[in-house]
Symmetry: C2
Subunit: 136 residues, 2 copies
Amino acid sequence: MDSRIVNLRSKLDVYKAMTGGGNLADCPVREVIQGLNGKWSSLLMAALAEQPYRFGELRRLVPDISQRMLTQTLYDLQRDGYVHREVFPTKPPSVEYSLTDLGRSMFGALQHLLQWAELNHDAVREARAGFDATQA
Amino acid sequence: MDSRIVNLRSKLDVYKAMTGGGNLADCPVREVIQGLNGKWSSLLMAALAEQPYRFGELRRLVPDISQRMLTQTLYDLQRDGYVHREVFPTKPPSVEYSLTDLGRSMFGALQHLLQWAELNHDAVREARAGFDATQA
DNA sequence: GGGTGGTGGTCTCAAAAAGAGACCAGCACT
DNA sequence: AGTGCTGGTCTCTTTTTGAGACCACCACCC
């Protein structure tokens, strides 16, 4: 028994899960997190959690995303099972993206982080400003 | 009143927070999330949530991180106020990294996502495999 | 029938970020 | 004098991202 007695079992469990219990290289948790790490993933998830959107609607909704990254991010989210893509055979075929059950479930967890960010972005901004000041 | 009646107020709020209420370009929530988007940020946060670590310990703990990215990710986390860096004037100076209160607070939110990933990585893996099969 | 505009993309090329690995000063121990 | 550990930085290559042109299809409008 050393000083590493852990009173935060759940945190330790999470850490062990991320390290795959010693098998850190191909850890499933890291793979999943990696999929959400994209610059646009969480934003698109938040948008689609509100309601389904079509490709062009998303592009207008997020003006600073390039069409290339919108295509790719949606493809990745679809691949991981968070997003459903449905093509409607209208005159110019339209494509609708919506969350799957898995996507809604995942967003429930992601939401905690987004809400934290909403409540604490001032603290982060302050910390950043203070740090930059000392480094100047 | 159109079909967009929203029964998920909290989700909508999160979305609005991310979009900055129409000011999507410089939205504070996106800035914060961006800081956690790094490939190694969440892993290092999980490690430091368990206990403080020294630089070399972290390097050994996460063998597949390059020294360069370890330095940089820790710097970024410190800049955003999640991590405290303390230099001890030992013979070869040692450096200890630990979570700040802000860091612990943030990890509390991040943890939900990590736990979700731990519980659902099978579903994601399956979705991925199924999707890849249809694309082949 | 010839322009215009909206559909959802792909392709190419430049810029930014990440990874690999060499290198460094300082000191302790042998 | 050599070896090893400390916490880094520097340079080079590869991967990821961003900007923007291009595309086929069809509807609409004259």
